[in-house]
């Protein structure tokens, strides 16, 4: 029975010597489904860094809900870099003084190395002939989406539908809110998160259409088989960004600014961009976008900055308590 203490000792010893052998350690606090992206990216960067500087770098990952991660960083989680899926999460860190105020300008493309788009997933053969946003608001259609107030995925869906309604002839905020009211009435439930919505739609066979990230559609294909569903691209949808930033306070304290900046810069390299594409995220590199065109058909997108004047403003108008989402339910 004394193998247990020995094992524990061995594990502890391994951990201690493991950390001691690295020249520097970086912690990347990231959103939940980014696991696959950084699982492949980290060893790539380690190799690159070793080859260019001779330094051995240890890379650690922390994953969780985007806003929960940001709160952890604000409360003292010593992450050198944050890689998120919503700009307002990084804005929060900027407000707290942990991230530079002009973080979006520190890297190209609004500091978002890759993007995705919100798309529809419908049942095989598209039995309800769902083509565009108004089909989701039509009577008798069931829409599956995560909670628009509590999840980034749900918020992107909400804002995409809002932007579509706004861009229609004669469209305005009042009409958009009315449209969203009809659409949300078609939701039999609000899923707890993106993956929960996928399970509800694919496995429990609820609803006629699921709204989710384009990258998630490929995940579904892997999990449930390509023949089970179809992807529909609406006439206008949100280009979702995945902003990254260096956590100034932490890198200054740890002396890891150089490594942290290089780690994020490398996301824009050919290798970094190709890794994103292989994880079904649209690379910023136009050549690679062409190379992987079979994953990424052309789609008309808008950004939150264009239509809503920034992520923070969009959040305040629509998802804060008393915002348009609440008013849809409480103004009868």
């Amino acid at each position: 029975m004394n193998f247990l203490p020995r094992t524990i000792f061995a594990v502890l010893f391994g951990l201690l010597t493991g950390t001691a052998s690295a020249d520097a350690t970086l912690l990347n606090a990231s959103y939940d489904v980014a696991r696959d992206v950084y699982k492949d990216y980290n060893p790539m960067f380690q190799k690159h860094w070793k080859a260019t500087t001779g330094e051995t770098l240890e890379l650690k990952q922390s994953h969780g809900g985007s806003s929960k991660q940001v709160r952890a960083v604000a409360d003292g989680l010593e992450a050198d870099v944050v890689t998120m899926n919503q700009a307002n999460d990084i804005e929060f860190l900027a407000d707290k003084g942990l991230v530079a105020k002009d973080w979006a300008k520190k890297f190209p493309n609004n500091a978002s190395p890759y993007t995705s788009a919100m798309v529809f997933i419908v049942r095989k053969g598209n039995p309800k002939a769902i083509k565009d946003w108004p089909d989701l608001a039509a009577p008798g259609t069931q829409v599956i989406l995560p909670h628009p107030k509590n999840t980034g995925n749900g918020r992107n869906t909400y804002l995409s539908a809002w932007a579509w309604a706004l861009r229609q002839p004669g469209g305005n905020d009042a009409k958009a809110q009315e449209f969203l009211g009809k659409l949300l009435k078609n939701a039999p439930l609000f899923a707890a998160g993106g993956r929960d919505a996928t399970t509800t739609f694919m496995q429990r066979k609820m609803g006629d259409v699921l709204v989710t990230f384009e990258s998630e559609a490929e995940m579904i294909a892997k999990e449930f088989g390509k023949g089970e569903f179809e992807v529909v691209y609406p006439s206008l949808t949100m280009q979702t960004e995945f902003p990254v930033a260096v956590v100034e306070k932490v890198v200054d304290k740890k002396g890891t600014r150089k490594q942290a900046t290089a780690y994020l810069d490398y996301l824009w390299s050919k290798e970094g961009q190709e890794n994103a594409a292989q994880n079904y995220l649209r690379p910023r590199d136009t050549e690679l976008l062409k190379k992987y065109a079979h994953f990424f058909p052309p789609v008309k997108t808008f950004t939150v900055d264009e239509v809503f004047g920034g992520a923070n403003k969009a959040f305040a108008t629509h998802f804060k308590d008393g915002g348009t989402f609440d008013r849809i339910y409480t103004q009868k």
Partner: protein
């Protein structure tokens, strides 16, 4: 009352000090911090947040579903505990171990599993939905999830108490001419009632704070099936820590009052025979009843 009673084991002072420090660090400190944080808001604002339309609906759903789940467990948990203590049957140890499973299972797993089973194409859902009972993604689903999660509380608090009731007591009641119903109602039930209330209170308190299992089966529709913990998460999602704390404090206050009430009831149930009536009077009353 003697000022100093002789104690067999020494170290009362040390143990009491330890107890107070331990409870303060573990419970009072975080709760105090929470209340302190909420006090930034002021009483009027806290009430304002708690009386919002969505918040009110969520309070109704949370406390209603928790009460129902605890009540269901009080009834069926009593039966389970009784069977497990009183009757030998094959596989009894297995069934006994089964009771603890809801404690061991991560609640999110429980929620996802229940949602899958009760969904329209699930093992149970496909049979009960055609009959008009929708469980998954309705408030009924919340009750089911809470009942599942809190089952062990009632069973585990009742088991030792039922074990303590000697079968001879029932036999004595029978020889004195009590019917089966009288034996249960006058002899057994008063003995287990305080423990039943404890089990109920534990289940109820646990259900109020439950989040992981509920969100996967509730459907989370505003005004219909949102629970208070979900609204708290929603506030945190807006980085509105103060608002979240306000909701938490209100929830805590209501829970505290309810648990205090249950404790009072329990105290009354445990003491009404011992203290309120002198033994002669009780005996006389029993005699009078017999005639």
């Amino acid at each position: 009352m003697a000022a100093r009673t002789h104690r067999v084991l020494p170290g009362f002072g040390l143990a009491l000090g330890y107890t107070l420090v331990y409870l303060s660090l573990l419970i009072l400190l975080p709760l105090g911090g929470m209340i302190l944080k909420a006090s930034d808001l002021g009483f009027a604002q806290i009430i304002d947040i708690a009386l919002g339309e969505r918040a009110l609906a969520a309070f109704r759903v949370t406390f209603g579903a928790s009460f129902l789940a605890a009540a269901v467990n009080a009834f069926f948990g009593l039966i389970v505990a009784w069977i497990l203590v009183r009757y030998p049957f094959p596989g009894k140890r297995f069934v006994d171990a089964l009771v603890d499973l809801p404690f061991a299972l991560p609640t999110a797993v429980a929620g996802i599993t229940l949602a899958t089973i009760y969904a329209g194409n699930g093992w149970l859902g496909r049979f009960i939905e055609p009959l008009g009972f929708k469980v998954a993604y309705t408030p009924a689903g919340i009750v089911v999830a809470l009942t599942f999660v809190t089952l062990p509380f009632v069973v585990r608090t009742l088991q030792p108490v039922i074990e303590d009731i000697e079968p001879e007591v029932e036999e004595a009641a029978a020889t004195l001419g009590a019917s089966r119903w009288q034996t249960f109602y006058r002899i057994i039930f008063p003995a287990i009632f305080p423990a039943l209330l404890t089990g109920f209170a534990l289940a109820f308190a646990r259900a109020i704070g439950e989040f992981g299992s509920v969100i996967f089966i509730a459907g989370n529709l505003p005004l219909v099936s949102e629970i208070v913990p979900l609204l708290i998460i929603s506030k945190l999602e807006q980085y509105d820590v103060l608002g979240a704390t306000a909701l938490a404090v209100v929830m805590l206050a209501i829970s505290f009052v309810m648990l205090l009430g249950i404790n009072g009831l329990q105290w009354w149930a445990a003491n009404r025979h011992r203290n309120s009536e002198p033994p002669e009077a009780a005996a006389g009353k029993a005699k009078g009843d017999g005639e």
